[in-house]
């Protein structure tokens, strides 16, 4: 009579792959054989993308994972959560809300406040003493397949009041509390230093704080390279090849005293070997000085991919940025870029320059515009019954070069016998 454990491994594997992660955890303890079979799907489900909080118990667990023969090698993406405790958001802050409650509830609030206060002290000690960096570096060094570190905040601020994810500027102001800015700055410093000491071969750093909620970081959250801790990084540059930065447009103050662009460039230049750089502003930013500064001051000697999102700029500035990286650029992706103002320029002219000067082999344009209309591309579509062709216009993403449309066809009308080629008419603006 066959028993469950008589089933061949491939069947057991199909079964364990069909259950939920929580069930995999239970299956590990059922028997040696089932535990062994469940281990690989479990590693893939629970460890491929691993989250860690900047708290001692969470960091200790990460170090333990890095020592595990199956779970450690499974980790490919490490998400460092910026969730944190804030002194102004402890249970004390909500005491007034509970003032009418029974006395024993008041005692329980007191106890909660005491625990919160202890955790806050631990959190600060972890960041101040460098222990957080030590744990992270130790763990990263033990994760042989770690490719990417993502900085994110899925629930921010931790233990804070419940805030609607899309509460707009009010929510963003919460991000901007001085304590949070300082915490993120220290946390980023810890992560960068940990990468430098524990995983200098790391490929990608994705700083995506708050992006799920339409938020983003502010320049003030980026640690300055003059910080003593980052001097080490400056001397021994990280081989990081890919950096993604998502900023909250609202969080740029453009205060003349603080050169926010310099803060950003200073951070980017911590990684001189960058090959891919993506900068996006959540919520369109219409400060012309920003792109002007970027086009003049950003120079990365090895830059192969450049992505820009949600920026207002001019054709001239964009061309200047591309010319500055002409020798290395292989691909550019523009998302939500708007040519604004009288000097905005034209997309037709930009594309002609890019094509004629061969500034970049492949260019993707996604929902870009001039003021008042989208950049469109059109397709001549032949009808089956032989009636004249019609052109359909699109505004969404299209790619020129690489696997996309041929540069030779860009801006040139196609001939009658070549109808299947796209008809790009990018100089014209078609209002939607």
């Amino acid at each position: 009579m066959p028993a469950f454990l008589h089933l061949p491994d491939e069947i057991l594997l199909l079964i364990v792959r069909a259950v939920d992660p929580e069930d995999l955890r239970a299956l590990r303890l059922v028997s040696r054989r089932l535990g062994g079979v469940a281990q690989i799907p479990l590693a893939k489900t629970c460890f491929e993308r691993r989250r860690v909080l900047l708290q001692q118990d969470s960091l200790e667990t990460l170090v333990e994972i890095s020592r595990h023969p199956v779970f450690g090698p499974a980790v490919r993406i490490l998400v460092v959560l910026m969730d944190h405790l804030r002194p102004d958001l402890g249970p004390d802050a909500s005491r007034s809300r509970l003032s009418g409650d029974a006395a024993h509830e008041s005692k329980s609030v007191e106890e909660e406040a005491r625990q919160y206060s202890l955790l806050l002290i631990d959190q600060e000690a972890l960041m101040e003493t460098g222990l957080g960096t030590t744990y992270l570096a130790q763990a990263m060094a033990g994760l042989p397949n770690l490719e990417s570190v993502v900085i994110d905040a899925t629930e921010w601020p931790r233990w804070g009041p419940i805030v609607e994810p899309r509460a707009g500027p009010q929510y963003l102001r919460l991000f901007m509390s001085p304590y949070t800015i300082e915490f993120v700055q220290k946390a980023l410093c810890a992560v960068v230093l940990a990468v430098a000491t524990g995983k200098p071969s790391l490929a990608e750093l994705d700083i995506a704080i708050g992006s799920e909620h339409g938020g983003g970081i502010s320049p003030g959250m980026l640690p300055s390279s003059t910080r003593p801790a980052l001097q080490y990084v400056r001397k021994r540059p990280i081989s990081l090849s890919s950096l993604w930065l998502r900023f909250a447009a609202e969080n740029w103050t453009f205060d003349p005293v603080n050169d926010e662009l310099e803060m950003v460039l200073d951070f980017i230049m911590l990684f001189p070997k960058l090959q891919s750089l993506y900068i996006r502003f959540e919520g369109e930013i219409d400060r012309p000085e920003l792109m002007n500064g970027l086009s003049q001051r950003l120079r990365l000697p090895n830059l192969r991919f450049l992505g820009l999102g949600e920026l207002q700029c001019t054709e001239r500035e964009l061309i200047s940025l591309l010319r500055g990286h002409k020798d290395t650029l292989e691909e550019v992706r523009l998302q939500g870029i708007c040519f604004g103002g009288d000097q905005g320029g034209s997309w037709r002219s930009l594309l002609r320059t890019v094509r004629d000067e061969q500034l970049v082999p492949a260019l993707t344009i996604e929902e870009c515009s001039t003021v008042g209309g989208w950049v469109l591309y059109g397709f001549d579509k032949a009808s089956d019954d032989g009636t004249p062709t019609t052109t359909t216009w699109y505004a969404e993403r299209f790619r020129i070069g690489g696997t996309g449309f041929a540069w030779a066809d860009v801006l040139d009308h196609v001939t009658e016998d070549n109808k299947h080629y796209p008809k790009l008419d990018l100089g014209q603006v078609y209002p939607i």
Partner: protein, 183 residues
């Protein structure tokens, strides 16, 4: 000569196995049978086709019952494509339990269920072993370790130290997002 429409299959794993007569359209769910049909002439197929798998005739009968009921469903071929009844290519769709499938699996005892899985795996009947695995997965979904042991009739072979060590690793397999949610 018209192609043979009824195939005779016999399990020779143990002596005295029953000879099953299975419609060709039903038997073609099996990757193994598809290979045999490619390699053999129709004259060869008039003879009994031997198969050898460690399951009882009762278990095998249930497999052929499912194949016969599902004979008109698209079939997976050895090149990975999915073919309809007229041999035309059709799009693969995730498997779901039909009402008939539900009744079929619900009526099985664990011995028959495991035999079906073993035979479907040997005969390479992808939809049947996938449904069977899904059925077992549904049986253990949301259950504790102890409940799973009871459902699958498994005795733990961990020694107490090993079990304690794995239980202590609980924090390892817990994701931090869960911690944040609980707080």
């Amino acid at each position: 000569m018209a192609p043979i429409q009824i195939l005779k299959l016999q399990n020779t794993f143990k002596p005295g196995g029953k000879v099953f007569e299975v419609e060709r359209a039903a038997a073609e769910h099996s990757g193994l049978v598809q290979m045999l049909l490619q390699d053999f002439d129709d004259s060869d197929l008039e003879a009994i086709i031997p198969i050898s798998v460690d399951v009882s005739d009762k278990g095998l009968a249930k497999v052929f019952e499912w194949m016969t009921h599902s004979k008109d469903l698209p079939k997976t071929t050895d090149d990975g494509s999915v073919r309809g009844p007229d041999d035309s290519a059709v799009n693969w769709k995730p498997l779901t339990f039909s009402d008939w499938d539900k009744k079929f699996f619900d009526a099985l005892d664990s011995e028959a269920l495991y035999e079906i899985l073993i035979a479907a795996n040997y005969l390479d009947i992808k939809p049947l072993y996938e449904l069977g695995c899904q059925f077992v997965a549904n049986m253990i979904r949301g259950k504790t370790t102890e409940q799973i042991r009871e459902i699958l009739n498994i005795t733990s072979d961990f020694n107490p130290e090993e079990e304690l060590r794995i239980r202590e690793q609980k924090a390892l397999v817990k994701d931090e997002s869960e911690t944040a949610e609980k707080n």
